[in-house]
Symmetry: C2
Subunit: 83 residues, 2 copies
């Protein structure tokens, strides 16, 4: 499992769309607060690997491309533990 504190340190850019509290400020963007940790990791890997395409993937693919596997696990742990 990831390290939520390490995830928090990487999460500032996520907050721009997904909210500092994990509740998306932008309609059509997913809330991440309390989301399943493994699902967040698999979604990030899918964006990075090109398994998700289309309009939202155009935003997320370059973000995910900057993340290591450990970064993804840490970010997932951070958002998963939010209430």
């Amino acid at each position: 499992a990831g390290d939520a504190e390490a995830g928090k340190a990487k999460a500032a850019i996520c907050a721009a769309c997904h909210g500092a509290n994990g509740i998306a400020a932008i309609p059509g963007y997913p809330n991440l607060a309390g989301q399943n940790e493994q699902y967040i990791v698999s979604a990030l890997k899918a964006y990075k690997n090109g398994e998700r395409t289309g309009a939202q993937a155009m935003v997320m693919k370059p973000q995910a491309a900057m993340l290591s596997d450990a970064d993804m696990e840490n970010l997932a742990a951070y958002f998963a533990q939010m209430k």
Copy 2:
């Protein structure tokens, strides 16, 4: 916006993986309770349109393929209003 009651009537198959209460019983599957309504619609359309591929899309593409746009809006309304 969709009709949550109509969505509920279509949601039994969703509950098998995403939980009757919108909290996934299976690790790695996303919780849907309280998720952004427009995001749920866009995710379902992305699965139907082949914009998501990979292991989880193998499960979701055939599910989404059975749903009309109205079905998607109704299911999204149903899960979005769950607490």
